[in-house]
Symmetry: C2
Subunit: 327 residues, 2 copies
């Protein structure tokens, strides 16, 4: 099943089921008013939602309409928690150099995950506002999972069974501020503005064989102002989503709808490019002695889309956002 | 006005207005179903809530009943964000020694604030579960404020005007895990289980002159198994709540209901004691060469209550929780 959320003026938006073609959708709010409610009542909602999805695919869903991603909020405009990992070791090691901090202890064996704000996620075509251009404005292309409730101390196997949806996202970052915040040990706060999401959240079965080992084996194509920045593959995570979820639930229960992110998708193969500018800049530093790629400015446009290894479009749709001045 | 939240089976609970005596309350759900909704619609709700509060004080509120703090959830069982500062420099400097990390750069001039989970706050008498006793279980006595929406880039003066409520809380911590997490730079996640709150959230005017300079000038009495640990005063914050809120809103808007915490209340005067065990332990290390106070074990009880400088009880009521084994 594929879900999206239209803006109806409410905090959580209105639930849609989207067809595999990506061109049709149907209002599902008679089953659950919004995606958060569907996740909170998954046992009751799953079967009727799947029936509605089947009807939509068969062209039999009453009231189906043309799907407009530009009208979408994030699939979950708010979530109970947003916990974002750094599971691509290639990215983490390059970022330690970029942010000039000491290598993280046990980075290969214990996941690092930061707690992000989860109350104000942006939709795929929403302008992303910044108060100025000085903070080192950067994108971070990622995959994520949305879980059902998870008990405190859940094992990775239990965590794997809790995964309900897969999402694609841009975890906007302010690198100049991050460099200061990482030194405090208190994590990222000012350096993490609202995270943005591709329009469609998909159940793992929608990804076919591209979902295995609790990883998204798809390429994340990223362009800045139309120019390719990267197409790294999500399969290279050192920790699976099951391991990341279990890490987050080690000392607390997770509520249904919690989102856990992969961290910036990154491959050891440099031909894959990068999923953020900071990584590209540090590679330029290493290879050519200076960072030539500037951070983002007002008016810059960032596009992200996941593709299967054979080039077909993934289920999540496209993020296409413009950086703008706040107010 | 003073508010509390009874458990009615819903995520956000049911809104009560509580009398200044602390012994009577009245259901306010005809005005707003819960405290989060009241904050989201403060312009519309403030006057009728104040009228209901006045009626309750005058003994004229229909349906008033005996207030039972043991039935309370946290005033906000979930909030859009939970951002917790470390505004008591005495605490921060001692904790740098306790967690064995380098002094935080610009600690005196730029607030440090971590992003906490805000989806699962515990009530004042809820047992607090841990999977084991090995993590260095500790409490942290704090004050906090609940804000209306705050625009990105708000000044401290604008932030001050957004403060709607004052709360008292226990930011439970796992010190052994914190020592590892602070080194990653990614902040606290596993080291921060659910935060617990005293039953009553009060508008700043309820505190009288104890609310000034956007600080809570009250003593926070803390006992472990009935034995005093500290009674530090909240007035010694190096950064006001207005400054902390502005810090949190520097690069993002805050939604109504966001909670910003002071960090562990701490005074340079050692006679005040401590508001957490880690601070007490590092003082023991400094003064006597070894930490004698153990961290918490299953069955230990933690009580917290704010008092005015003349000894009168503060408006927040009492936290009284027991540490238990999860599941």
């Amino acid at each position: 099943m594929r879900f999206a959320t239209y803006d109806d003026g409410s905090i959580d938006g209105r639930l849609l089921v989207v067809a595999r073609s990506g061109s049709r959708a149907v209002d599902a709010s008679a089953i659950a008013p919004n995606l958060l409610a569907a996740l909170q009542h998954w046992q009751a909602c799953e079967t009727p939602l799947r029936r509605l999805s089947d009807d939509l695919e068969a062209g039999k869903a009453a009231g189906a309409f043309s799907f407009e991603p530009a009208r979408c909020l994030a699939p979950l405009p708010r979530a109970p928690q947003w916990c974002d990992g750094s599971a691509f070791l290639n990215h983490g090691r390059l970022m330690a150099q970029a942010l000039k901090h000491a290598p993280i202890p046990d980075f290969d064996t214990i996941p690092v995950v930061y707690q992000g704000a989860s109350d104000d996620f942006l939709g795929p075509h929403a302008d992303i506002p910044f108060v100025d251009e000085d903070g080192g404005i950067d994108f971070e292309g990622e995959f994520g999972v949305v879980v059902d409730q998870v008990e405190m101390g859940a094992t990775p196997a239990e965590a794997a069974r809790s995964i309900r949806l897969v999402v694609q996202l841009n975890d906007w970052s302010l690198r100049t501020i991050a460099m200061r915040e990482v030194r405090t040990g208190f994590g990222f706060l000012q350096s993490k503005p609202s995270t943005s999401f591709a329009p469609v959240a998909a159940t793992p079965d929608e990804l076919g064989s591209a979902w295995r080992d609790e990883r998204v084996h798809m390429n994340l194509l990223i362009a800045r102002n139309g120019e390719r920045v990267g197409s790294a593959n999500g399969g290279e995570m050192a920790f699976s989503f099951a391991q990341l979820v279990a890490h987050c639930a080690a000392t607390r229960r997770l509520k249904a709808g919690t989102i856990v992110g992969s961290g910036t998708v990154s491959n050891a193969d440099r031909a894959a490019g990068s999923s953020c500018l900071a990584e590209r800049r540090i590679i330029e530093m290493i290879e050519a002695g200076e960072a030539r790629t500037p951070f983002l400015k007002f008016g810059d446009r960032v596009e992200m889309q996941a593709r299967y290894s054979d080039g077909r479009e993934g289920p999540f749709g496209r993020i296409d956002q413009k950086v703008v001045a706040a107010r």
